[in-house]
Amino acid sequence: MDIFLQQLINGLVLGSVYALVALGYTMVYGILELINFAHGEVTMMGAMVALAVIGALVASGVALPGVLIVLFGLMVAVLVCAALGFTIERVAYRPLRHAPRLAPLITAIGVSIVLQNTAMIIWGRQYITFPPLLEIERYSIGGATISNLQIFIVLLSASMMVALVLLINRTRMGRAMRATAQNKSVAGLMGVNINSVISMTFILGSILAAVAGVMVSAYYGLAHYYMGFMLGLKAFTAAVLGGIGNIPGAMLGGLLLGVIESLGAGYIGPLTGGFMGSHYQDVFAFFVLILVLVLRPSGLLGERVSDRA
């Protein structure tokens, strides 16, 4: 039982990070029908920029509490990633808006190669460790432990998701985004500035990605120029699992994927009598994905997307 609870907690923490990144994929997809392959790399950039800022602050010996230093790093990362998301859309996607569908996919891959290698040139190939600024306290519930960092991650991502939902459902900008997602040309006729809506979508997605990147590097204590690839892949999987283009779907898919993954990793060994070890956890995630898509081809909550077509 305690394994179950522990893996459930770990899965929820991981899942809320996936969900944040998945939201970026799904928002862009909902509006542009484009798989923004560079999104994982934006997450990585968020983590790296935050770590660079934090590292510099620590090295300069500023007498600030650790939490504030981390928060400052997070703020800088958010700003940098917002600018990055905006630039990526301008440079790599906007000129190709009426091009064949696979063309922006290739530029997206190009952008992610560029970002990865830029990070490698700036920060090197080695792992960067997160300085021990946060005091980790562990609480035990029902035989499992949960740390304050884990609680913070879940709370922060939950509140960001709530904020996003409010933004999309309650504000003028959100209404413009929904209109654009439904039909770009008609939305344009109704006075929506399509280009600024699309830019805004990229900026919002990148902000979420930056926060997710910082959280994941704080959680594992590490960041690496290559970390965005697998994280992006998992988050994209999560977005598709929930039904790509659907915002609650991305949240559900992210949480589900995190939980499935950590439960899978925890149980696959004992279940198969040691035949398969925990390194099969990725297989688990993809296997569930294929199963879900075969049974429900438009993802768990994806109906609205197919209706709209």
């Binding site: 997809y29 029908e33 798989i35 440079v91 790599a92 000129p95 190709l96 009426h98 091009a99 064949p100 569908r101 696979l102 063309a103 922006p104 996919l105 290739i106 530029t107 891959i109 190009g110 952008v111 992610s112 190669i113 560029v114 990865q116 290698n117 830029t118 490698m120 040139i121 040309s185 690839f229 892949l233 994209f236 999987t237 598709v240 790509i244 040691g274 035949f275 398969m276 070890g277 390194h279 099969y280 990725d282 297989v283 993809f286 296997f287 994905l289 294929i290 898509l293 075969v294 081809p297 438009s298 993802g299 997307v305 197919s306 077509a309």
Partner: protein, 373 residues
Amino acid sequence: MQAYLERLRHDRRAAWAAFIAIGILLAVLPFLADAGLGRSWVRILDFVLLYIMLALGLNIVVGYAGLLDLGYVAFYAVGAYVFALLSSPHFGIHLPFWMVLPMGAVAAGIFGVLLGAPTLRLRGDYLAIVTLGFGEIIRIFLNNLNTPVNITNGPQGINLIDPIAVGDFSLSQTHTLLGIQFPSTYGYYYFFLLLTLGIIFVSIRLQNSRIGRAWVAIREDEVAAAAMGINTRNIKLLAFAMGASFGGLSGGLFAGFQGFVSPESFNLMESIMILCMVVLGGMGNIVGVILGAVFLTVLPEALRYVGTLQQALFGQVYADPADLRMLIFGIAMILIMLYRPAGLVPSRRRRRELEAEADVADQERDSVYDTKR
């Protein structure tokens, strides 16, 4: 250029002259590369040919049938591992290559159907992510199937794979013919060239065949195609199987050529690169795909010289060329797509699509049965 091509189309003698010129160029290419750029470039030429075969295989799935496959490298892996397991000391089995290569291709084809069958209902991007997941699953299994029974030898991979050989004539040795030395990479070059020409021939014939037209019909409008009496299920599965078997064949060649396979060679990035070759060159156009494969294989190698270039220009090396070359590579990919969104050499049909009126294109985009979803 255009006028010359037009002349080739009508003038028999000019066509033969061009044909012979290309033939001679291909025959002496390894000598030119060796003399001009160094021995390592002959090896790169071998890889170029391998990637041309791979890209043409993927072109069947993506370019002809319009099924976006992001896990193509899985079939390459299947072919390579079939070859590796059946002709290496790992299991102590040493079957000759002419048995193992077709077995790899057939095995990959079967995997192609296995992947295709459950995903027939999926459209566009959903298909892409499922194929991507499939590719990752194959790789993870290859990585971990060393316990409890050692099948794939895990991350270490399989070593000492038998080279491609007929009797005592092995491609991994240096042969002397008419006083000219042919090192191993040359032998492989000619062998790969032969197979590549075979695959190009099959691709061309497929393009204008009944099946090829059925693929295009499915790509353009699946429902209309079905209404015209095309068995969309079988034709789609055929595209998967055929593309996969090309991949399996190249995988077997890769294993025999390298003498070593490990799961590392079959990661997602590899799949994406092959897809980039197809799209960058011009989907559905054989010349374009070949050009894309050549370009994306040669460019990263050529960019190894950025260190030398920096030395020459600035007198010192500022950035590590190994880091810089992939950066430039990424930028090149973006720029090519921005300036030639339909690929370097777009297929004629797709070019017509591109030139269609914007509102027609938008209408197609919004149609209910669009294949992209």
